[in-house]
């Protein structure tokens, strides 16, 4: 069972990590890039498949060379086996469609065709949620979105999944699809390991993939002469390797037109405030009168 998980590097939006300039624009150079949080759910779903059904998990991303560290993070924390980065200047500034075209081509180039492709539920920066389904369209696979649990029947070559209906946690449906299939994991996805041997395998993977990720980390050190593309579990493909026409990828291949960007208004730094003594009955009555309209009272 071979799974491919799609991932993207996004700014680390956690408090204390993100930097903005004076105009409120995100300073990408000063903000660390991390794996899109929703992609972890996709990786966990793929890992569950690997543990229960054997096989391997490939992690694929399209982006600048700096994404190699994101891939390493995926190997260290969510136990991916092989890492693929689709990267060159011609792929830059792609919208979701151009990205999907490129990624789908990368998947089709794999020596071991995947039985499953996993994507996370939208990225933390773009939040369109389009790239996964558009990639699926290119690959022409059955698409299962908002998946919260899944089981593989290898003999029947089918996938049975529970999914939220339109993202509603109150309504869950069970669906079945033939393999290969494309799965978008919902943030509600919770891997389950109810057998001891599955948990033991999981524990083994933690050890082996962390050691492997540390090994890759040596290739990524700033002061090393090692070439990451020499590392046996990492592959980098440019548009030529993928045999893609630059006119159909990157900025040139992106049909999306951004008409304009409205800056988010800054919150006022100061507000007028009046200090009211709680023992001053008249003043407190005034407060109540001020609040009453908002409470729907008289």
């Amino acid at each position: 069972m071979h799974s491919v998980v799609l991932t993207k590097g996004v700014p680390d939006f956690r408090e204390g990590q993100v930097s903005f300039d004076e105009d409120g624009h995100l300073e990408r150079g000063k903000t660390p890039t991390v794996m899109n949080p929703n992609d972890r759910h996709a990786l966990r779903a793929a890992l569950q498949t690997k543990v229960r059904n054997e096989g391997s998990v490939s992690l694929m991303s399209m982006g600048p060379p700096g994404y190699m560290e994101v891939l390493q993070e995926g190997m260290r924390d969510v136990y991916a086996d092989d890492l693929y980065l689709l990267s060159d200047r011609e792929m830059g500034a792609a919208d979701t469609w151009a990205t999907a075209m490129t990624v789908a081509t990368g998947i089709q180039k794999l020596d071991d065709p995947p039985d499953l492709v996993f994507a996370g539920f939208k990225t933390a920066d773009g939040e369109t949620g389009h790239t996964g389904p558009q990639t699926e369209w290119c690959l022409d696979m059955p698409l299962l979105t908002h998946v919260i649990s899944l089981d593989i029947d290898e003999a029947e070559e089918t996938l049975r999944a529970k999914r939220l209906v339109e993202g509603d946690v109150e309504e869950i449906e069970t669906v079945e699809a033939p393999l290969p299939a494309f799965v978008v994991a919902d943030p509600e996805f919770e891997p389950t390991y109810r057998r001891a041997d599955h948990r033991l395998k999981h524990k083994d993977l933690r050890e082996t993939t962390r050691d492997r990720a540390d090994e890759f980390g040596e290739y990524l050190d700033d002061d090393t002469d090692l070439d990451p593309t020499d590392w046996d579990r990492f592959t980098m493909w440019n548009h030529e390797a993928l045999n893609l026409d630059p006119d159909y990828i990157g900025l040139d291949g992106s049909p999306t037109i951004v008409a304009g960007v409205d800056p988010i208004p800054k919150a006022p730094s100061e507000r007028e405030a009046t200090v009211v003594d709680p023992d001053d009955d008249a003043a407190m009555e005034g407060v109540v009168e001020e609040l009453a309209p908002y409470a729907g009272g008289d």
Partner: protein, 555 residues
Amino acid sequence: MTDDYEHYEAVVVGAGPGGAAAAATLARNGIETLVLERGVDAGSKNVSGGLLYAEESSPYTIDELFPGFRDEASDREVTEHYIHNVAGRDVKTFDLGDLHHHDTEWADSVLRRKMDSWLAREVHEMTRETGGGLLTEVRVNGLLREGAEIVGVTCDELDPIRADVIIAADGVNSELARDAGLMDWEEPEEWFQGVKAVVDMPEGAIEDRFNVDEDEGVAHLFSGDLFRNVRGGGFLYTNDQSLSIGTVFHLDSIADERAEPQQLLDNLLTHPLLADWLGDEYDELEYSAKLVPDSKKVAHPSPYRDRLLLVGDAAGQMQAQGPIIKGMNHAVTAGALAAEAFVDARSRGDTSAAGERYVAKLENEGVMDKLRPTRYKTLGKLGEVGPVASAMNAVTDSALGRAAISALGDRAESLFNSPFLMGMLPDTRMGYVTVPTVIAEELGAPVEGVNTIEPPELDDRIGDLTYDIDEGNPHIELRDNSFAASGTAVTACPVSAKDFGGGCYRDEYVGTNGSEEHVVSLDTQPCVECGTCAVVADTDWTHPRGGKGVEYEQG
């Protein structure tokens, strides 16, 4: 029931020293062994006084089973052992060296989180090679049965698992032992309760204050009137960079006296005798508690049923040799013997005979006689009968008794060092309170030190512990909340106290239709899972699900 459950040749429940010894012995014999531990890490649910003995007479010691154990997992080799008889400020110290060294190959101070987690790593590697392994955060909640026969275990986190042998090393609150009907929690007199503070020591302080080398340690025991009339005593052991200071009392005595364990511990911590050892700065790293089986009463003579074999605390295997307590070493021996019994039975094609073989090995290796000495059975039981015990107390505390002790002088020290005598003494107030107090008054001298430390309040001790609360799944249920049925939990619980609202139990007066009812309320949040309340109150008590509840960092 279905037949497609996972199957392992052996399932070991609990990754303390007993479970580790069993798993290591099984793995060495090529047995596919799965070890299930409910803590987030081995040792995170465990507490011990802190001395691990290796006995010369034992067929197994922990360092034989795990080479490197003493370098990696234990703290200091304890070479000196003293007991302090206390009466107010008067103290008479006896050297317990002879008793300590009797049948002792070595004795090391240990902290359970460090020790158990090291053992668990070793065990995982060993058992993984035979197709098994060690899993944490899995709580085994009962026995899988086929008809009436035990054939495996059930878990909160995993589907049921079948096994040819189940070795329950799941501690004093063993749910498997109770499920099999081999242990109950009915009688407070069958248990001790210990509480402990691990106290941080500045670098070099242990060597300076206890006059020991870097790799040497010392043990101090305390008895007398420090603890009101509660039957039990205190201990202090030197670890690498900390002290383990605690108290152990008969649970029935704690219950009868309405004593509060943390206050009794504070009585010890604030005694002038400890002033020079503790210094001016008191930094308590962890407060913990544990129930301990009184093996003389509950060590099970036949600790097995079907494929289930009990070892360690789960089988009541804890030896109180007078003031010296030996538990972990017996768990190690029993764990290895249980594994050995299964290996023997399997090699003869009859794994169902493992239990019988285990019992025979416990008898033949002398383990049962250490746990339940024959000489205690006669004198001990006689001495514990109320009127006889009272008479003995009266004689000892009389002018005649005092004169006798005074005349005995330092020769009393040699009596304390008699393993024979210590093994037969009845558990009366005489041994714990009266005699030590009289010795201190007649033979002792006032200590000079001024103890200025202030132990933390109970709410601070509770607040410093790490809990992972299992919201919506309380692991204790009060079946009868009347004060008459469950009120003792308020005082006996180590994280509750009278007039304290932030603990596990508290008492309340509830007005109903003009009358007032005295009831007990339960909040399981600060529970340290010692199980005391399961014995002294009317509760349904189970362990929290795997990884949930308290997490000890020291243990």
